[in-house]
Amino acid sequence: MSTNTVSRKRGLSFYARIYKKILIQDLKSKMSYRADFIISTIGMIMTNLSGFVTFLILFRNFPSINGWDYHHMLFLYGFSLVALTPVQCFFDNNWNLRFQVQSGDFIKYCFRPINVFFYFMSEVFDVKGLGQLAFGVGTLVYAWYHIGMEVTVLRICLLILFLITASLFMIAIMNFAAATCFWIVGSGYVMVIMFRFKDFAKYPASIFSGIFKVIFTFIIPIAFVAYYPSLAVLDPCEAPVLSWCAPLLGILFFWLSYKFWMLGVRKYDFTGS
């Protein structure tokens, strides 16, 4: 608890300064493995391309899905890609959490007088995510143009607000999934599975019905990774209440996942391994 009280006294600028320093170190070390860096970037581009090809093949055979035509679906697709960028860029270290916890190296994060969650996440900045961002923004602009939506300041503000909202949900999902490793040994499966569910975020959540609608909205909130937030941008007047609740729910989910993650850390402290 004491680390928490100390960190609260420090301002945002303190953390921003530290983040910049750690980021530069990380980039420097990445650059020393140039071949790996290039191949990984190619790999990331390939996954995006393959997702796009799947999408094209789907629409070649079926003109619309649940009342969503090609360009609206493309908008949703681009939206989900951009919304998934922050989790890829800033929270990628979650994938290493289980190895660090198992080997005991994680203890080093607990000894610093800064927030453990912040320190752990700041260690890795994944550059590959930027390719995805570019891909997503391109798709989004193309779809926007073809839908023929007006470009107003309000719309742009809504878009940015709801993109941030959507990414909070994805970050929260991955935090929850990663933090399970504090309790379960070899919980890599949970992360892999959650990461695979995100592939369904790019489809309209209106396809679900009954109990599964509730599950995919509130328990595994993939409906909030693209569907509800993008409705608020596409058609602010007709958007359902859930779309407007999304920012608050996003913050709530993120906060809960943070608390869960920190609970794991505290539990780890107790075992003293």
């Binding site: 390939m46 789907l58 079926f62 003109p63 649940n66 949970v190 369904f200 396809i207 019905s209």
Partner: protein, 269 residues
């Protein structure tokens, strides 16, 4: 090499993977949730299409195809690339190479145990659930035996591809990147993310002859009795393609490995 000794490796593999029972249940559970997602998505897609049959695939066919493709993916998944790069980094690979057994054969047989466990504990239950949901849409007969035969061939093709990719990793020092490239290509071109029946004509002509199809598409096509696989004239080319790719990839993989393994010895001292 006696068969008995190979089966000893299988047995060890079975015991090892039974250690991670929780993981197996999580995989099974995830398959079921995945099944729900695929069901809703494709139901919506077919409802919007207005027709029942698209490119010779009905809604039920597509659903069975995609869910069993995922189940096959879990069952065929090998971590050869990861394990090998880890054992190169730690130096453990030297111990494996010193074993009085061909390294590739050793790897294959030590994975066979986990394949058996995965098949029984994740594939079969998923299969049963699919049968219940679709009210027995899968024909039960000779196609099941042919499916198992075809799956064994798929397993060999998949292993050979894994080994080739793992060997490339000896040179590049990049595991994540190479692995994601491989996975993306295999999943797309094998029909695991979208059935090959939906691919455009021109693309199909190429994809039909690539080895990736031998991993997911051919076993599932045989199981669903599509593309004339009920007739000998339709079945033989498919199994033939699998056998040919097994041989090509096996030989290519062996040559590449034998050449590269000499390289490691030189570099590692």
């Amino acid at each position: 090499m006696s068969v008995k000794r190979l089966f000893a490796l299988t047995r060890a593999g079975i015991m090892e993977s039974l250690q991670f029972r929780l993981g197996i249940f999580v995989t099974l559970f995830a398959n079921l949730i995945y099944l729900v997602l695929v069901y809703f998505l494709w139901k919506a897609i077919y409802d919007s299409a207005g027709t029942d049959v698209v490119n010779g695939m009905t809604f039920t066919d597509t659903m069975i195809y995609l869910i069993l493709a995922t189940a096959l993916f879990n069952f065929l998944e090998m971590f050869v690339v990861w394990d090998m790069s880890r054992s190169i980094q730690s130096g453990k690979i030297i111990l494996d190479l010193l074993k009085p057994m061909n390294y590739r054969r050793y790897t294959f047989w030590s994975y066979s145990g986990s394949h058996v466990v995965q098949f029984l504990l994740t594939f079969i239950p998923t299969f049963i659930v699919v049968m219940i949901i679709t009210h027995g849409a899968i024909h039960m007969g000779l196609n099941l035996i042919l499916f198992i035969l075809s799956t064994v061939l798929a397993l060999i093709v998949n292993f050979s591809m894994e080994m080739i990719v793992a060997t490339i990793c000896l040179y590049t020092e990049s595991t994540w990147g190479i692995n994601i490239v491989k996975e993306t290509i295999v999943l797309l071109l094998s029909g695991a993310s979208i059935p090959l029946a939906f691919f455009p004509e021109a693309a199909r002509k190429v994809v039909d002859y690539l080895p990736f199809r031998a991993v997911y598409d051919i076993p599932l096509t045989i199981l669903l009795q599509k593309n004339g696989s009920t007739e000998l004239s339709g079945l033989l080319p498919m199994l033939g393609l699998q056998v040919i790719w097994c041989l090509i990839l096996y030989i290519a993989g062996t040559l590449f490995w034998n050449y590269s393994v000499r390289k490691i010895t030189v570099n590692g001292g």
